[in-house]
Structure formats: structure tokens, C-alpha cells
Amino acid sequence: MVPNQKTIKFVLKPLLFIACLIPFALLALKAFGVAGAGFGPNPVEEVLHELGLWGLRFLLITLLITPLKDILHKPWPIALRRMLGLFAFFYVTMHFVTWLWLDRELYWPGILEDIGKRPFITLGFAAFVLLIPMAMTSTNGWIRRMGAQRWRALHKSIYVIVLLGVWHFYWLVKSDVREPLVYLGIALVLLGWRVWKALQKRRATKSA
């Protein structure tokens, strides 16, 4: 069952767009107290944490596309990857803005100090910075401009970005590292898939 171009463009992508917005919408509902929704005693911490988690989750979801296409032996999931990647960038950016504005109160000396002096923040900031060129070159126009090979090379930086994100999470936790380790596990499986595929390919070409 392969969805055709029309289905992807007019059904799957719109539905996916709405689904990707749901975590953000839930936070907005809580912020405006709609339908009795609300935050716990520390709203800023909750918002910051949720946005960060979803940023990391979307990054991992984008890494799921290649294994998915390999398992299905069909390339159509790739059509969804750009949207997922841009939503990852959206959530990471919102996480960063929340930190800058609601947590550090736009106090730039403190912000620069944190980015420079606190290793886990340095890592998080690095991951964000590396995401920017990926977001900027996400359009078809840019794929054409750069050529498939260079574009693919740039976009492989997602591998580093995901690991920086997981490490950022691991280093920020005070003592209970279980959750970050789960994310690390998932990241390693998704990256390991690519390593395995590459090794398979090499073996195949060797024996050919």
C-alpha cells in the first residue's frame, strides 16, 4: 500500500502537520488555562522541559525515516522527513527562546556566561547552532543549489546534533539518568542501523 503523491501532499502531510503541532498546542492550552488545563507550581520549568523533550523526540523521529524506508522497501516516507525535521528545529528553537526569555530573562551577560561556562548548555547551544544551516537549506531550491551530494553531507550533521542533544539532557539531570539513557539507547539503535547498513553494503560490493 503505497500512498501516491496526491495522498502525501493533501492528506498525509496536513495530518502530520496538525499532529506535530499538538504538543505545542497543549502547552498553549495550559498557558491560557483553557478547559481547566494548567501547569504545576513551576510553569517555566515545565514548558522548558516539554519543549526540549519534543525537540529531542522529533530529532529521533527524523532518524526513523531511513530505517522505515528500508523496511518497507519503498521511498515514500522521505517525503515526510522535511516537515519532521523543521518541527524538530521549531521545538528546539522554542526551547532555546524559553530559556533565553523566561529563564534567563534576556540577561545577556548571564546568558553568555552560561553558554561558555556550563558544559551541558554549551552542548545544547552547539546542537541548536548546527541545526540552523539544516533548517535554512531544507528547501528544494537549496538541494538544487548545493547539489545532492553536498546537501546530503551537510544534512548528515543530524547524527552529531542528536548525540549533542542527548548528552545535553544527560548532563543537565541531577541524579536520575534513566530518561536520558533511554533516549541515548534509541539514538544508538537508529544510528547503529545506518552503520549496519553501511557494513552490509560494503560486504555486498566486496563479494560482487
Binding site: G40, P41, P43, L102, G110, R118
Partner: protein, 324 residues
């Protein structure tokens, strides 16, 4: 009722400021008799409903209270760090329902003339429960205003007559994995039992409270039932909960968070905006429940959490960067 009358020989090591004026002391006895008669202290914790709290008779102490508006009971009892019940802020409220703080015994041991096991009621015997509104500053850079109900730790300690060898007081939390799910082996957060300690002068300081309630009710389980330490000029993790042992020691005792991350959590843990946590600044704090909610601003953290006048002298000459 065992009210000990001050004897002449006590004056040698008691400051005049510590002697209870007779008027307060006599009215204290009346109040206590009434309280016992009303069964409020002897039977304050019904064994049947372990998650419920009961009313306490307290005397408000304005001298040691701040004038800031206290946080709501909901904030204070649903936003807790008590890893014995789970590591999320709402976990202690969600997972402490089965915890039974009655009956409770506290072991007194170490360098003291009087040691042994004492029941919770026995520990409080003869002492007035005061209500003091204190600031509470967590090392994570959030804070609350909490109306604690408790007794001065000094008054409890005096009874056990620590010897001259007792330079520190060590505390231990209960280990009860059947009622504290966070202590079960599959959850490795901190080592158990949770342990803490104070220097003797910190323990004897009038601000140091052994809290048995808040907002005029006995302590909810998630806040450290039935008794916990409160040292308002230190980071909240010094406020060890559900205490089962108090030991007088010669050497500085080990403390749980220092053992977990020695670069980050020290023995003294005095609130100090000038000494950063390695991973975040301590200059400002988020006051829980402040105006503005999501867009409410953080506020300046005060040296010794605003208790500088009362405690700075304890640390005169100490390098607080080194002794964090």
C-alpha cells in the same frame, strides 16, 4: 507532664537569652496540658488514614517569621524533591499515600550522655510547637515561603546532653522500600538511607527547626512526615525528611548529595548568590507562585537566604567558595 525547672547550675552554660521567661513557661504548661487532654499530641496521627493529616495546636512566632505571603498548601505539598518517592516533583504527592508515619521512633546515639530509642511523642514532650514562616530555597534555584510548625532543634538536643566531643549532629532518613517506591532497587537515584548533618552551632541555632507540621496540620508524607529538619539559610536538600536517627559525632558526617556529586553539593550548602552551582548560576531564583506565572520574573537570591543577620557570624572568616 515533665517540665524541667531551670536549676541554678544550668546558668553556667546557658545564655540569658535562652532562659524562658516564667510567664511564657507557665502558660506553656497550661497549653500543653490542654493539648494532651484534647488528645492532640498523644494521638495526633491516626494509624488508619495514613495519608491524612491532623490539626496541631501551634503558637505563632512572629519573631522568626518573614512577612512574605506563604505559598499555598497545594504548592507546598505537590512540588517536592523527595526521591524516596520518585524523582519527579509530583511523585512524592502521588506515591506517598501508603507511607505510615505512625508509630515512629527516633534513635539518639553517639557522643551524648542520654541515648536510646525515643518515640516521636516522647521527643516532643514538654515543648511548644511554634509556627514560623520561613523562606525555603532549593539548590535548583526555586523558592517558596513555608509556614512550618515545629520545635527548635536546640531544645530537643539539650535534653540528650551532647558531650564536648559532639562537634556535629548527623541525621538519617528511614529506609522502607515497601512504602517508599523510590527506594526499590530498580530505581537508582541516591544511595539510601538519605543522610545529612550540621555543625553543632548550626544545629543549636535558634532558627534550626525540627518541623512536625505545616499550616497548622501534621506533616503530609511528601513533606517528610512525621518530622524533618528545616535550616532556612541553607539549600533545601539539607532539610532531611522522615528522620529516624540523630547522632552526635566528632567528625564531619557524610551527606547524601555530597556523596552523589561532590563538586556540586557541599556540607555547608549555605544559600549564596555569589557561589554558583557548577551547572547553573545561584544569583537568582524562581519564586513558586509569584505574580505573572509563566512571565513572572525571577528574583534576586539573598545571601544566606535573607537570614544573614542571624547566621553570618557562624561563618565569619570561612572561605565560602571553598566550603560551599
Amino acid at each position: 507532664m515533665f517540665i524541667r525547672r531551670p536549676q541554678p547550675h544550668d546558668c553556667a552554660d546557658i545564655l540569658p537569652s535562652e532562659i524562658t521567661p516564667q510567664s511564657a513557661y507557665l502558660s506553656r504548661r497550661e497549653m500543653l496540658t490542654g493539648a494532651v487532654a484534647a488528645g492532640l499530641i498523644a494521638n495526633a496521627w491516626p494509624a488508619s488514614s495514613v495519608a491524612a493529616t491532623t490539626k496541631l495546636t501551634v503558637v505563632k512566632n512572629a519573631k522568626y517569621s518573614v512577612t512574605d505571603k506563604p505559598n499555598t498548601f497545594n504548592d507546598i505539598t505537590t512540588y517536592n524533591n523527595f526521591y524516596e518517592f520518585g524523582t519527579d516533583k509530583q511523585s512524592p504527592a502521588e506515591n506517598s499515600g501508603k507511607f505510615n508515619p505512625q508509630p515512629w521512633k527516633v534513635k539518639i546515639s553517639g557522643e551524648a550522655e542520654v541515648t536510646g530509642e525515643f518515640s516521636f511523642e516522647d521527643l516532643l514532650k514538654g515543648l511548644t510547637i511554634e509556627e514560623r514562616v520561613y523562606r525555603m530555597r532549593c539548590v535548583e534555584a526555586w523558592s517558596m515561603i513555608i509556614p512550618w510548625d515545629g520545635v527548635q532543634l536546640a531544645d530537643v538536643i539539650k535534653r540528650f546532653k551532647p558531650t564536648s566531643k559532639a562537634k556535629y549532629v548527623a541525621f538519617k532518613t528511614i529506609v522502607r522500600p515497601t512504602e517508599m517506591p523510590g527506594q526499590q532497587p530498580q530505581f537508582a537515584s541516591l544511595g539510601w538511607p538519605y543522610i545529612e548533618g550540621l555543625r553543632m552551632d548550626e544545629a543549636m541555632h535558634p532558627l534550626t527547626l525540627l518541623a512536625v507540621g505545616l499550616y497548622g496540620q501534621t506533616l503530609p508524607n511528601q513533606n517528610g512526615a512525621p518530622l524533618r529538619l528545616v535550616t532556612p539559610w541553607k539549600y533545601g536538600f539539607k532539610g532531611i525528611k522522615s528522620i529516624v536517627e540523630i547522632r552526635f559525632t566528632e567528625k564531619e558526617p557524610p551527606t547524601s548529595w555530597n556523596m552523589a556529586a561532590r563538586q556540586e553539593y557541599g556540607f555547608y550548602a549555605n544559600v549564596n548568590p555569589r557561589v554558583d552551582h557548577p551547572r547553573w548560576s545561584q544569583a537568582r531564583e524562581r519564586r513558586i507562585g509569584a505574580e505573572g506565572g509563566l512571565f513572572g520574573s525571577k528574583q534576586q537570591t539573598l545571601m544566606f537566604n535573607g537570614y544573614s543577620d542571624q547566621v553570618a557570624s557562624l561563618y565569619a572568616g570561612m572561605d565560602l567558595n571553598k566550603f560551599y
